[in-house]
């Protein structure tokens, strides 16, 4: 009997001695919408980074956090196939479908899964009709490198459905999903359970604390840094801003003892890596395709243009003013409203910059058209409330407006933030009907603008599927110069100095 006990102790000791040897690397990145960027780096650099780490003896996993199929100029043309093609070359172990990957509807994402050489995972959405996962999208996956098997799940907020107006899907309760999938994966022999999450609602640390999952990978846009401050820090939680960086994560744990997992990670700038020539050739092949069209200079801006997400999604923006003015003019509306998230690019164009077609397509990459709706004053207030409801998270629904003056209070409770609205110098009348120009995206209820969903679009003189970018391009073609300005269309009384109205 004593012998047996000794034997067991000896075995445990041997085990412990071996345990320290369990090591794996994990590369994680996300939000790479542009295939290349001179000042940020892109897929060619990522390929080199992976090559270097994969050459090491320790098994290296590559997890791609998604949110990359949109927006970009190329993807507005090919719905993100080029990103999948490039990813095929650098072979991620898994890709999480998140946020922008849903921009072209569920079906387009399903089509991408056929083209991908890697599994695409999204764990908490289901098609309403079948209660099954989206066609081709897996609810969880086991990835393997060397002897290690990692269970992978990815979660998202319900808000994504609202943002991209995904009418055929529903989001399942994450609590239940995480527990069930983690259990299933562990039963299948997963060494570690990795949870990916892009969102703001879920507190991932809880799942780490109760041991449901072993590692959390999070990514969010630069403006998501606002969120990052709120993210509870945890040694096993990796938070990566989507600024062309990759998290290089070293994992080590004792065999069969996942609780001993230690996580060491650092964010590395892609730009600091050389370009992989094979991938670069592929990239060149893609980017050269539109150069001829996009390099045409069509005008100049006489004022500064700022397309940073933070500016567009928290305050009145000069370009937002110009674009909504043009929408209003184009459709002959009284007022216009566009979500700040419709303007992209995250760039700054100082005055007198020459503007090329590429710049404009970068500013307005969505292929949305201008829609004319008749709305009541009441509807308009509801819609503005939706726009102001998520200022703190700098969400894309923040409105950019034309033809009206709005005073709001960002500190008030969401849904009660609009203080006053003036339309052409007279106060908004709740029952009066106004002609509103907006994008087809918002008119279909995108970004939580559900109030528009049942309004029947009116026809207008120039109606033809004219894109937002076309309207700006035509304006530049006709005038050769634009000068967007900020002119106190939206006032946040919470930001006004005390004593002033």
């Amino acid at each position: 009997m004593l012998k047996i006990i000794f034997l067991i102790i000896a075995l445990l000791c041997i085990n412990n001695a071996y345990a320290a040897a369990e090591k794996a690397n994990l590369i994680f990145t996300a939000g790479l919408t542009e295939i290349e960027s001179r000042d940020k780096g892109g897929y060619a650099e990522l390929a080199s980074l992976l090559e270097i780490h994969r050459a090491k003896p320790i098994p290296t996993f590559f997890v791609f956090g998604g949110n990359s199929l949109f927006p970009s100029i190329l993807s507005s043309f090919d719905h993100g196939t080029h990103i999948i093609d490039l990813l095929n070359s650098i072979e991620p172990d898994v890709m999480a479908a998140s946020n922008g990957d849903f921009a072209f509807s569920e079906d387009e994402l399903s089509l991408r899964t056929y083209e991908a050489a890697f599994p695409i995972v999204q764990s908490n959405t289901a098609q309403i009709s079948t209660q099954q996962n989206l066609d081709g999208v897996l609810d969880s996956v086991m990835i393997q490198q060397g002897k290690y098997k990692l269970g992978f799940i990815s979660l998202m907020d319900e808000e994504v459905l609202e943002t991209y107006n995904l009418t055929r899907s529903s989001v399942k309760d994450p609590n239940f999903i995480i527990a069930a999938k983690a259990k299933k994966l562990r039963a299948l022999g997963a060494d570690l359970i990795i949870m990916h999450y892009r969102g703001t609602e879920l507190n991932c640390v809880d799942y780490l604390k109760n041991g449901t999952v072993d590692l959390v990978l999070r990514n969010d846009s630069e403006t998501g840094l606002l969120t990052a401050e709120k993210v509870q820090e945890h040694p096993k939680q990796v938070f990566l801003p989507e600024t062309s960086q990759a998290a290089v994560i070293e994992l080590s744990w004792h065999t069969k003892q996942v609780q001993t997992l230690t996580v060491q990670w650092q964010a590395e700038k892609l730009l600091s890596y050389p370009k992989n020539s094979i991938v670069q050739r592929q990239i060149d092949n893609y980017s050269s395709r539109l150069n001829l069209l996009l390099d045409e200079i069509i005008g100049v801006t006489s004022t500064d243009i700022d397309t940073s997400s933070l500016s567009l999604r928290t305050t009145e923006n000069a370009l937002g003013n110009l674009v909504t003015d043009l929408m209003k003019k184009h459709s002959g509306a009284d007022i216009a409203l566009l979500n700040g998230g419709a303007v992209r690019g995250n760039s700054f164009y100082p005055k007198n910059t020459q503007i090329s077609r590429r710049d404009i397509v970068k500013m307005l990459p969505y292929r949305d058209t201008v829609v004319l709706l008749e709305v009541t004053g009441m509807q308009l207030i509801a819609v503005l409330e939706n726009g102001f409801s998520q200022i703190k998270n700098a969400k894309g629904r923040f409105p950019q407006i034309s033809g009206m003056k709005v005073v709001y209070n960002s500190q008030a409770a969401a849904g009660d933030r609009v203080v006053s609205v003036e339309i052409s110098d007279s106060p908004l009348l709740p029952l009066k009907r106004y002609k509103l120009a907006t994008s087809s995206y918002l008119a279909n209820g995108g970004d939580g603008y559900q109030r528009f969903k049942h309004n029947v679009p009116l026809t207008y003189n120039q109606q033809m599927s004219k894109l937002l970018s076309d309207i700006l391009i035509n304006e530049l073609r006709l005038t050769n110069s634009i000068s967007p300005k900020i002119e106190s269309r939206m006032l946040d009384i919470a930001k006004q100095p005390a004593g002033q109205p």
């Binding site: 190329l74 507005s76 043309f77 090919d78 719905h79 196939t81 080029h82 999948i84 093609d85 095929n88 089509l111 991408r112 899964t113 056929y114 083209e115 991908a116 050489a117 890697f118 599994p119 081709g136 395709r289 539109l290 001829l292 069209l293 045409e296 292929r367 003189n461 120039q462 033809m464 599927s465 004219k466 894109l467 076309d470 035509n474």
Partner: protein
């Protein structure tokens, strides 16, 4: 004769205000109406002219532009259709046909753009589209090549399988051999399975399994009967080559799926490019349409204003027309009607002056009528006078007397007043005529008449020559005394004439006898009775020696 000389003077125009000739006024009225109509019609004509010009603009500029862009749109749609056909071409022949159609279509669009549009950007876009088509076609070509290679690899795989079967009698000599052959078969099945997989990651998974299996297969060769080892090794090696070499089944399948994805991407890409192209192509026709719409709107606005103006003008014309008609009615028709009525009334005998207001042909006519009427009246008076007076003495004749006596009798009856008549007869007047001749007789009658007239005191008294040398006085409202006095005075006057009459037995001069009747009110007295009474009185006076008065 004097009055006749006045007529031309009365009709002369200068006498009253400015002369407004009827002809001139009517001509002016009608000319102004015609002028107004001509202006109104000119205005309408001018308006119609601007409508015509806008219509011409629409038909000459806008319609062709719309047709052009519709044409272009159709061609682009066909290109869209061709792009999906290109993407899904299953064999070289289809690919070639589609490629040819695309080239033709692109050329035709290029030609159209060159002819119609000076937009450089459109050409650039078309170039990009054309090169995209070329790349897509190459990609599809590549896809087809890989498809062929996969089929080839597949058939060589089956050949390997057959070779394995032919080798199997040798291999299957020991139990490990049997396991090996069935593992080899399984390997082939696994490889075939990859060929029907549609997702890249599944293909990779299956190949990972296959790689493990082939490693085992290679390892197990050592357990095979010695004689078959070399062949088995070569078979395994060939299979590994076939599946995992640079150009092996795995790579081919991966390439096939990746190219399929790229084809989908390129197709999307092309579709969006074509969309953009179609929109840019339509931009110009939009601009033209907008101009036409703006012009039309401006014309509509102008027309609106002019319609209002036209309405006002029409109302004005109508008003003027009515005014002119009213004016003519008032100025001429009514006056002619009035004149006509006055002439008719005048004919009936009413004493009406013709209205001669104004200074034109009608007033001239009225004036002329007035003059004619006055002249007729005058002549009528003369005639009437002639018929009631006695030509010789100038006294009233018997007809006048009868009328007057009847009147006076009625007046007296109405007033219940007295009425007296004196019948006076020159004594022996027949003898006077015989003695002094008829001429002297006439002269005597004249002198007596003058004396009688002279003795007439009251205007209501009436004296007439009753016949031959008989005269009669009607004395209304005269008592018998008054009549007596009057008779005495008459008698005295005649005596005072002292006209010599030798044949008069009563005196040496002309005398007369007077019979008085009446003098008191008498009911139902008629003229015949009165005159009879007077006659009787005269008879009595004659009987009583003449040159005397007898009252009945």
């Amino acid at each position: 004769m004097n009055s006749r000389k006045k007529i031309p003077q009365q009709l002369s125009h200068s006498s009253r205000g400015r002369r407004c000739s009827l002809a001139a006024v009517i001509s002016t009225a009608f000319i102004s109406i015609v002028f107004l109509f001509i202006s109104a019609m000119t205005l309408s004509h001018y308006r119609l002219g601007s409508f015509q010009s806008i219509l011409v603009q629409i038909t000459e500029d806008s319609f062709p532009e719309i047709t052009y862009s519709r044409n272009l749109h159709n061609q682009i749609n066909e290109l869209l259709h061709l792009s999906s056909r290109l993407a899904f071409s299953g064999n070289d022949v289809t690919l070639r046909i589609v490629k040819q159609s695309i080239e033709n279509k692109v050329q035709s669009i290029q030609k159209q753009i060159n002819e119609q549009d000076s937009n450089v950007y459109l050409s650039t876009q078309l170039n990009v589209i054309s090169s995209e088509f070329f790349s897509l076609q190459q990609l599809v070509q590549h896809k087809l090549t890989i498809q062929e290679q996969i089929i080839e690899a597949q058939s060589s795989m089956y050949t390997l399988h057959e070779k394995m079967f032919s080798l199997s009698p040798q291999v299957n000599r020991n139990s490990a051999g049997t396991i090996w052959t069935s593992a080899y078969s399984e390997m082939i099945t696994l490889a075939s399975k990859t060929l029907i997989k549609l997702r890249l990651q599944e293909v990779r998974q299956v190949f990972r399994q296959a790689e493990n299996k082939i490693a085992l297969l290679e390892k197990d060769i050592l357990l095979l009967p010695l004689s078959s080892r070399t062949s088995a090794e070569s078979l395994t090696d060939q299979l590994r080559q076939l599946m995992f070499a640079e150009n092996g089944l795995l790579q081919l399948k991966i390439m096939q799926l990746r190219i399929n994805g790229r084809v989908i991407g390129r197709e999307h890409f092309l579709k969006n490019l074509l969309d953009d192209f179609s929109r840019v192509a339509e931009f110009k026709s939009y601009q033209i349409n907008e101009t036409v719409v703006a012009d039309t709107n401006a014309i509509i606005e102008a027309t609106d204003a002019e319609t209002k103006l036209m309405n006002v003008v029409s109302l004005f014309v109508l008003f003027v027309l009515f005014s002119v008609i009213y004016f003519i009615k008032r100025r001429f028709v009514e006056r002619v009607v009035l004149l006509n009525r006055q002439v008719i009334a005048r004919l009936k005998g009413d004493k009406i002056e013709f209205d001669v207001s104004g200074n034109d042909e009608i007033s001239d006519m009225a004036k002329a009528f007035n003059i004619f009427a006055a002249e007729i009246e005058e002549q009528k008076q003369i005639l009437r006078d002639l018929s009631l007076t006695d030509g010789l003495t100038g006294l009233y004749n018997r007809r006048a007397l009868d009328q007057r006596l009847e009147q006076e009798l009625q007046t007296a009856a109405r007033n219940q007043g007295p009425l007296a008549v004196l019948i006076m007869d020159i004594d022996y007047f027949k003898r006077y005529n015989d003695i002094y001749g008829h001429l002297a007789g006439d002269d005597c009658l004249k002198q007596v008449s003058a004396a009688l007239l002279h003795s007439k005191r009251r205007s209501t008294d009436f004296i007439a020559r009753y016949g031959g040398e008989e005269f009669l006085f009607i004395l209304p409202n005269t008592t018998p005394d008054g009549a007596q006095k009057m008779a005495a005075e008459v008698l005295a006057k005649v005596n005072a004439l002292n006209i010599t009459h030798e044949g008069n037995s009563a005196a040496a001069h002309v005398t007369m006898s007077i019979g008085i009747a009446g003098g008191c009110y008498q009911e139902n007295l008629n003229s015949a009775e009165l005159l009879e009474k007077a006659d009787k009185a005269l008879y009595k006076a004659k009987k009583s020696g003449k040159n005397c008065i007898y009252s009945h």
